[in-house]
Amino acid sequence: MLKSTFPWLIVAVTGCVMIAAFFVPPLAEWKNEAGAWFEILAAMAFVVGGANLFAQHLKKISARRAGWGYSAVTLFSFVVTLVVGLFKVGVIGEDPNYPWAGHYQAEGSALWWLYQFAYQPLIGTMFALLAFYVASAAFRAFRAKNTEATMLLTAAFIVLLGRTYAGTWLTSAVPDDYSALTFPGMTAIILGVFNTAGQRAIMIGIALGVAATSLKVLLGVDRSYLGSDGD
């Protein structure tokens, strides 16, 4: 009862209130309140996630498992960021009477330093690295073996050229009356007609999928989010 039925009742009631709030304006306040609670619980979930990360890496270090040194680096950077962020190290508040009122990421603070010189370069370069892997994977996987693959490749080629100066330059000799035949013109058609139609159908499909899944969860048909009994 407490482990399975009661959680489902919470799901059903809160979900129905959220839906009802859309149709019954006086309930909108409840929706806002639930939204704020949701954010608080999400913040608590960050704590659970952080504690899990800490425990897992600590276990690895204490067991001296392979790569424990990297776990030590992770833990060190985690703890340092957490401490300087929570204690607003280096933050100067606008009002001297409220030294804690300054923004946690004010320019010159320790958290700002970590964001500017560690977090941002690391995340930016990590995603930039994907440029090489996307290109390499595409080179290996994309072959114009059939009509569909050829269409995909051609569309990608046209859009890539159409959105850069090279595409404009390559078809600059085409008269204005036939601008649809230039790379930027063809890109506009691909994006305006084919891409819009495809994205629209995908979005309609996703919306129906989300609605169906939500209904299954609210009606208790799908209770996989509760995990197994042993959890």
Binding site: F117, A138, I190, V193
Partner: protein, 303 residues
């Protein structure tokens, strides 16, 4: 010594020598950040506190900032360390990766978790006077609000969520989890149906024959709209699995696949362009901010 080790040693030594020569022999050196002092409250006669703001080296008041210069070199190291993975997995990449995991996990906990949610949305409701006099002085204006005891509910649910960390009694964490799932399912269901389902259908109900102001048929706009509506129907036919894809439906679904392939091609192109833009940003950082080999924005004295 292995041949590979020799090559890397030579490369590192050459890179180091370049940095030393560039730093000592060029007119302006490299990899430094400058700041200038500004008053926190310029209007106040009593508050004489100062803070540092980034300044171009050409500014008369600019002074070298050791923490920011160290930061610049750390950022350059991390950038090169991540890029080194292009060669193969190595110790520098692994260190950078470990730092990224630690910093990003804590950064989200501190920002989105603590300072953006727990303090203003939970503790400020439960103890507005205390929080107002500590970290949120705006709460005290014009007068602090009354404590909102209803906020005890998310506090209790939050503590229950933390029970997931306990070796036994982790099931208690299912209740707040159920709340999260319920709210998310309810909001998302309506949100998707309204913003995606209905609005996308509404946007697709457009005239197939478009007339100009002069009362003539606008052929291009008509073709465009027809292609769009037909494409949406064809793609939906492909997604509709309750009917066997044979005959007319099959042919329509096949055209839908073609539309989808062009869509995926365009998405792929955008993904590649986005990543290339990020890469260009990092390369600019290395050559401009760190090595001072270029100065496209004219931030310094030039390269």
């Amino acid at each position: 010594m292995k041949r590979e080790t020799i090559i890397w040693t030579v490369l590192f030594v050459a890179g180091g020598l370049f940095l030393v020569v560039r730093g000592t022999q060029s007119d302006h050196g490299l990899g430094r950040q400058y700041v200038k002092q500004v008053r926190v409250n310029p209007q106040s006669a009593t508050d004489l506190r100062v803070k540092f703001k980034e300044a171009p080296p050409t500014d008369r008041q600019a002074q070298l900032s050791i923490p920011r210069t160290v930061g610049l070199w750390v950022a350059a190291f991390f950038t090169l360390a991540i890029l080194s993975f292009l060669y193969r997995d190595n110790i520098f990449y692994k260190i950078a990766e470990s730092v990224m995991v630690g910093v990003s996990a804590a950064w989200y906990m501190v920002t989105a978790g603590f300072w953006e949610a727990i303090i203003p949305k939970l503790l400020a409701n439960l103890a507005p006077e205390t929080i107002g006099s500590w970290a949120l002085p705006d709460l005290l204006k014009p007068k602090p609000p009354d404590p909102k005891l209803l906020s005890l509910v998310p506090l209790v649910l939050g503590i229950m969520l933390l029970c997931r960390l306990l070796p036994r009694g982790g099931w208690i964490g299912r209740w707040p989890l159920a709340f999260i799932v319920g709210v998310f399912a309810g909001i998302r269901m309506i949100g998707f149906l309204e913003a995606d389902f209905v609005s996308q259908i509404r946007s697709s109900i457009i005239p197939l024959v478009v007339m100009t102001d002069a009362g003539r048929v606008n052929l291009w706009a008509s073709l465009r709209n027809t292609g769009l509506v037909f494409g949406v129907l064809a793609c939906l036919a492909y997604f509709f699995f309750s009917v066997e894809h044979r005959g007319l439906v099959g042919r329509l679904a096949r055209v839908g696949v073609w539309y989808l392939m062009i869509t995926f091609g365009a998405s792929f192109a955008f993904t590649v362009m986005g990543r290339i833009a990020l890469l260009a940003g990092r390369i600019t950082f290395l050559f401009d901010d760190w090595l001072w080999l270029i100065d496209p924005a004219g931030k310094r004295w030039g390269p």
